[in-house]
């Protein structure tokens, strides 16, 4: 081939989002390590017209060379990618990282099946409940209208007695203002970016989940790279992964400080509430386990106990 290899990277979230910035950093590192022979263009904000659930397939077919993919939304394509969005399976960054390392061989195998290579993965800051009224027990969740971002979140809140709704992110702020919904299951980072303190008052960091976002490359594109180029990519991926895990945690903590400064009360769950949350989460974990294949089930069982 003549000239540098050019690759498109589809980024689902906006240019200022944590994961898109990670993808841009990755692109810069790749350019550096490959001495300018691999150039990656990051297309932020889903500007290539992909929505999410189809991304495994889209990368598989090479419609786009690379993409960042929220694992949870492609669980319908490959069951194992649902692990990181299971509620309350892990409750800290350390636990989440351990789970990721344990599950990584399974993720890599699944990616391989979909004709792609997993380059790196990093977590969203953990989601909690941003609400109007203070939530201290499942009784407070009764009938509350909460925007959730995936199937698990909806089932979890339903099990807690709430009324989960899904809606496009663009409608969330207005719907909060108008009272169509009164709470959101999301991270401090998103609450900060959405200026939710203008419409909501409380945050309960229930450490609901540490959902992973991965970046994959189509294998046809991958094999078209030279061994040196591939090595440069892997090196950049390892750097980016380490940086993003650290960033995720600092950003979550900083975002929490900012929303507190803006008047959102942050309060921890007590033991009784934690037990209620765990019970609701358990139902979803067990349901998920039923459909899991052998290796996946073995892994889950270790974390369930």
């Amino acid at each position: 081939a003549t000239g540098p290899s050019k690759l498109d990277l589809n980024a689902v979230y906006g240019a200022s989002s944590f994961h898109t910035q990670g993808a841009s950093d990755f692109a810069k590192r790749v350019e550096g390590y490959s001495r300018g022979t691999v150039l990656i263009t990051v297309h932020p904000g889903g500007s290539l017209g992909f929505k999410g659930p189809e991304l495994l397939k889209v990368v598989k077919d090479g419609q786009v060379a690379m993409s960042d993919i929220l694992m949870g939304v492609v669980a319908g394509s490959s069951h194992v990618f649902g692990i990181s969005s299971l509620p309350r399976l892990v409750k800290s960054y350390d636990e989440a990282h351990a789970l990721y390392l344990d599950a990584k061989p399974l993720y890599e195998k699944a990616a391989q099946k979909w004709n792609q290579k997993l380059l790196y993965a990093a977590p969203w800051p953990p989601s909690g409940l941003v609400t109007k009224k203070m939530i201290n027990s499942s009784a407070d969740i009764q009938g509350s209208k909460t925007r959730t971002y995936d199937k698990n979140g909806a089932e979890f809140l339903k099990a807690m007695g709430g009324m989960p709704l899904s809606m496009p992110w663009g409608e969330v702020y207005a719907s909060l203002r108008t009272g169509m919904i009164d709470s959101v299951l999301t991270s401090t980072e998103s609450a900060k970016n959405g200026k939710f303190w203008e419409v909501l008052n409380n945050f309960k960091p229930i450490n609901y989940a540490y959902p992973l976002n991965m970046v994959c490359i189509n294998l046809d594109y991958w094999h078209a790279l030279s061994p040196e180029q591939q090595e440069a990519m892997l090196k950049a991926a390892a750097d980016t992964e380490a940086a993003q895990w650290a960033n995720s945690q600092t950003r979550s903590e900083e975002a929490q400080k900012i929303i507190e400064q803006n008047g959102i009360k942050v309060s921890q769950e007590d033991a009784a509430f934690a037990a209620e949350l765990d019970a609701a989460a358990r139902k979803i974990q067990l349901k998920f386990l039923k459909k899991a294949k052998k290796a996946e089930a073995a892994l889950l069982n270790r974390y369930l106990n």
Partner: protein, 163 residues
């Protein structure tokens, strides 16, 4: 040949009715959702998802019908200045391009739907609907559309240039 054209137009018409039916089903689904929410404080949880699927039906089943009814818009500045004969040739060329594009789209829509079925992809929602089911509507709708375009093409080809 006239019978063929008549059969195709009947199919397009049926597509129009199907499309209308699903439009009404969307209304029904949403009304049920509103009633569930306001009166019973609950939710169907599939309202958004299924109204979107129904919308796919509305659009895809309606394409051929609206082509038959000449509801699709195009810019006719140049066409309007041509002679009858010129218009006929232009229409034939334009229809041929449209046919080629639709066949290309159909082929890849079939591939996509087949793949999605083969890979067992399901929606990331509580219903876990297999995605190929709503996607099947696309190749079917495109096929109807192609038939309608072909029938328009034939009609123009057969009509005598100077009526």
């Amino acid at each position: 040949m006239k019978r063929l054209i008549a059969v195709i137009e009947a199919c397009s018409q049926a597509g129009g009715y199907l499309s209308g039916l699903f439009m009404l089903l969307i209304v029904l689904l949403i009304v049920v959702e509103i009633i569930a929410r306001t009166l019973f404080n609950s939710s169907t949880l599939i309202g958004d998802e299924y109204s979107a699927y129904f919308f796919v039906v509305v659009v895809m089943a309606g394409l051929a019908f609206s082509m038959k009814e000449q509801a699709h818009i195009r810019i006719s500045i140049i066409r309007g200045r041509l002679s009858r004969k010129g218009q006929r040739y232009l229409d034939l060329v334009v229809l041929a391009i449209a046919l080629a594009l639709s066949c290309f789209a159909l082929y890849h829509a079939i591939l996509m739907t087949y793949d999605v079925w083969d890979l067992g992809m399901t929606a990331d929602s509580i219903s876990e609907t297999p995605i190929y089911i709503p996607q099947l509507v696309i190749p079917v709708g495109l096929l109807l559309f192609i038939l309608q375009l072909a029938s328009d093409f034939l009609r123009r080809l057969l009509s005598s240039p100077t009526p």
